[in-house]
């Protein structure tokens, strides 16, 4: 009996393997069908195949979905306006579950689909793993939101957002140079790569700008509901400003708990705090006077941002967060670089990679996350961080 089961399972295994092997030949047609969201009237070879990956399921899904949607809007706009160099875009987005191993699988799936340019990954850890593969293939990679330093360590990789050191350093510089505060407490998530990355560079740079860190209090993903201990320590240490390099859901709790303690310092955060005003069941009065460094504010008044926000709201019924904005810009950056390079979809992945690397250092892009963005050869973006302050429930530029 057992033998029969194992024979059956073995047959099933061989069958699945054959399916896996055969997928290469057949992948072209069904894969394009599954991405019918994009306009794919064009045949193979006459459209740029741009793939993206990020978490669509699991705890970090909110970021992956935002990136998928933001990029989708850009793709639709570009295709409607006649495409890039006269060629349409074929866009496919794969789920990486915010896991390094799954991200490599997602990347390989996209490669089998015929991807020529890679817009991903959304989160840092998977990005560091995937970059080894893109480097091997000399595939052009632009990450909308991978902030870790190593995300762009090879010449074929670029990013739209600031790096962790960029954010931490810029925050310290901003607080120090504008003399906002001299005694600072930091509350950060030590189990989170983004948060601990910013904290480390902030702490390393703080002294250079005359900022003294009087308390550095950590929490982890398992203890992110009660912050009274951390806030009490910050208060006892006499901090004038509390730096929050964390995401908005925890920051909202910190703000309300500080309020009920009667502790009212200045609060300062990074782009992770973006979205706090649109959070459900959050009293926006608590966020009054909160300062944050963010590349994107959904209620900015320039035309590009307003168009993007309107299109996003129409398509998905919600206000885009900065991840969506980064992805939206990433698509236009790809477009600008492809146009600069005069590339065509007939070029191989490696040829496109070389052409794009050369083009990236020459282009200047105005996007919703910053004006006059340029790139260094290391893949880092040059753009001004926007510091905004929440006044009367809306962002005000500082």
């Amino acid at each position: 009996m057992k033998k029969f089961t194992s024979v059956l399972l073995a047959v099933a295994m061989v069958a699945t393997m054959l399916v896996g092997c055969g997928a290469k030949e057949t992948a072209e047609t069904p894969a394009t069908e599954t991405t019918t969201e994009t306009t794919t009237e064009t045949a193979d070879g006459s459209a740029f195949k741009i793939g993206g990956s990020g978490p669509l399921t699991g705890g970090a899904a909110i970021y992956g979905i935002a990136v998928q949607r933001g990029a989708q809007i850009a793709v639709d706009e570009i295709n409607a306006a006649g495409g890039i160099n006269g060629f349409q875009i074929d866009y496919n987005f794969a789920d990486d579950e915010h896991d390094a191993e799954k991200a490599v699988n997602a990347y390989n799936t996209l490669k089998d689909w015929g991807m020529q340019l890679f817009m991903g990954t959304v989160t840092s850890g998977p990005c560091v793993a995937v970059i080894e593969n893109t480097k091997e293939d000399n595939m052009f990679q632009i990450t909308p939101s991978g902030t870790a330093v190593d995300c762009v360590k090879y010449p074929n990789a670029f990013r739209v957002c600031f790096s962790d050191p960029g954010q931490g350093g810029k925050s310290a510089q901003y607080i120090g140079e504008n003399k906002i505060a001299s005694k600072v407490a930091v509350i950060y998530d030590s189990s989170d790569v983004y948060s601990s990355g910013i904290y480390q560079t902030f702490a390393a740079d703080a002294a250079n700008y005359g900022v003294e860190i009087v308390a550095a209090e950590a929490f982890t993903a398992d203890t992110k509901t009660d912050f009274t201990t951390q806030l009490t320590k910050a208060k006892d240490a006499g901090a004038e400003l509390v730096f929050l390099p964390i995401y908005y859901s925890e920051a909202a709790l910190i703000l309300s708990q500080a309020d009920s303690m009667g502790y009212d310092p200045m609060f300062f955060g990074c782009d992770g705090l973006d979205g706090i005003l649109t959070m459900e069941a959050f009293d926006t009065a608590l966020a009054e006077d909160l300062m944050l460094l963010t590349p994107f504010a959904a209620d900015a008044e320039d035309e590009a941002t307003q168009n993007f926000v309107a299109a996003y709201q129409e398509a998905y019924g919600e206000t885009p967060i900065q991840f969506a904005a980064n992805a939206y810009d990433a698509m236009y950056i790809i477009k600008a670089a492809l146009e600069k390079a005069g590339a065509t979809p007939e070029m191989s992945v490696s040829e496109l990679g070389d052409a794009m690397i050369a083009a990236m250092s020459e282009i200047t892009v105005d996007g919703v996350t910053g004006a006059n963005m340029t790139w260094t050869e290391e893949g880092e973006v040059n753009k001004e961080p926007k510091a905004v302050k929440i006044v009367d429930g809306t962002y005000k530029a500082m």
Binding site: M1, K2, K3, F4, T5, S6, V7, L9, A10, A12, M13, T16, M17, V19, G20, C21, A23, K24, A27, P30, A31, T34, L56, T57, G58, A94, D95, E97, H98, D99, A100, E101, V104, N105, A106, Y107, N108, T109, K111, D112, G125, V128, A129, I131, E132, N133, A148, D150, S190, S191, D192, V193, S196, Q200, A203, A216, A218, T220, A221, D222
Partner: protein, 357 residues
């Protein structure tokens, strides 16, 4: 010829299991050389070996020893981090081959040591204590690694549990283990050949253990502890033996994992409680105590969600339905009757019986 016929049933079964892996390896190598393998499959070859190894390792604890371990991802984590730490330190000073060999030994050794340390107090007890303790152990390991900072400079190694600045590294110093950000830049030493060899070695170790004298003692303990004790079997010793071997093999899977990706982070996704349960699912669906079944079910269950990517958002939903389906097919009484009725073996023997008449 006569020798071949004299093979015992267990030796035959072992050879079939090993043969299966070898045949699968040869087919995959031929396909790779012919360029007929998709990128996805190429990328999946090493993970398949990793999960097959850890499923076999856990089956030794669950199926042969009869104890429940809910922390095998924790042992994998230990193997991964200890070996990645070693490989990172000797990245520039040692050749890849011997370095990886030592890394495997370190990963296996340290994981087995932890298995032993946990086993000494817990395996003396009767009941489900091992499940509880290993569950806690897996979570503790993950959290400890997430606050651990290790750096290196001219003065030697620096340790901290606070943050990277507290390491006080001199200029030119390097942070190796960076808390939640883990170890970045481990050399990529894993490949399918090494993975397949390690899988075969794992199978040899486990199958030989099962068929040896200690193996029979271990199974006797599983089946009836009191009877085993009464015939003079040293219960704690054999339990410890099986459990630490199981932990060490889980460490080997971790070594392969760490050297397959350039970044190693201890996250709930890869080394957390859910991963431990996932490994247990491989074992249960493959058949508790059935080593060959573990390999097959690990391979199918790792492949399945990847091959269903075209279904997009529905793939996880369908994956769980498939899990329930396999479970029912394997264990439901009705399904068993059905399989008995239409068993290939029975149909064949019927045929031959008729022909003989």
């Amino acid at each position: 010829m006569k020798n071949k016929m004299n093979l015992t049933k267990s030796t035959k079964s072992t050879l079939i299991t090993i043969g299966m892996v070898v045949v699968a390896y040869i087919i995959m190598m031929i396909l790779t050389k012919a360029g007929a393998l998709s990128s996805l499959m190429k990328g999946l070859l090493v993970p398949l070996c990793i999960y097959a190894i850890i499923a076999v390792a856990l089956n030794l604890t669950v199926g042969i020893l009869g104890e429940l371990s809910l922390g095998h991802a924790g042992f994998m984590c230990i193997g991964a981090f200890s070996s990645a730490f070693f490989s990172f330190c000797f990245k520039d000073t040692m050749a890849a081959g011997p370095r990886f060999l030592i890394a495997i030994l370190i990963g296996a050794g340290i994981a087995a040591l932890f298995g032993l340390l946990i086993g000494i107090p817990v395996l003396r007890l009767q009941g489900d204590y091992l499940a509880i303790v290993t569950l806690a152990f897996g979570e503790i390991i993950k959290n400890v690694i997430n606050v651990l900072y290790i750096g290196r400079d001219v003065d030697g190694f620096h340790f901290s549990m606070k943050d990277a600045m507290a390491l006080n590294l001199q200029d030119g110093g390097q942070v190796i283990v960076n808390g939640a950000q883990g170890i970045t830049g481990t050399p990529k030493d894993s490949n399918f050949t090494i993975g397949a060899i390690l899988l075969v070695i794992t199978l040899l170790i486990v199958l030989n253990l099962v068929n040896s004298r200690p193996g029979r003692a271990i199974m006797a303990i599983r089946d009836n502890r009191i009877a085993a004790e009464s015939v003079g079997i040293n219960i704690t010793k054999y339990k410890l033996l099986a459990f630490s071997i199981s932990a060490g093999l889980a460490g080997v899977a971790g070594v392969l994992y760490a050297h397959n990706l350039s970044i190693l982070q201890a996250q709930p996704k890869n080394f957390g409680y859910n991963m431990s349960i996932m490994i247990l699912v491989y074992v249960v669906l493959g058949g508790i105590g059935n080593i060959r079944g573990s390999v097959i079910s690990a391979i199918i269950l790792v492949l399945l969600p990847e091959l269903m990517r075209e279904l997009q958002d529905y793939r996880m939903l369908i994956y769980s339905v498939v899990l329930i389906g396999i479970m029912l097919f394997n264990w439901a009484p009705k399904a068993r009757v059905f399989r008995e009725k239409y068993s290939l073996k029975r149909l064949l023997s019927k045929k031959t019986a008729k022909e003989e008449k």
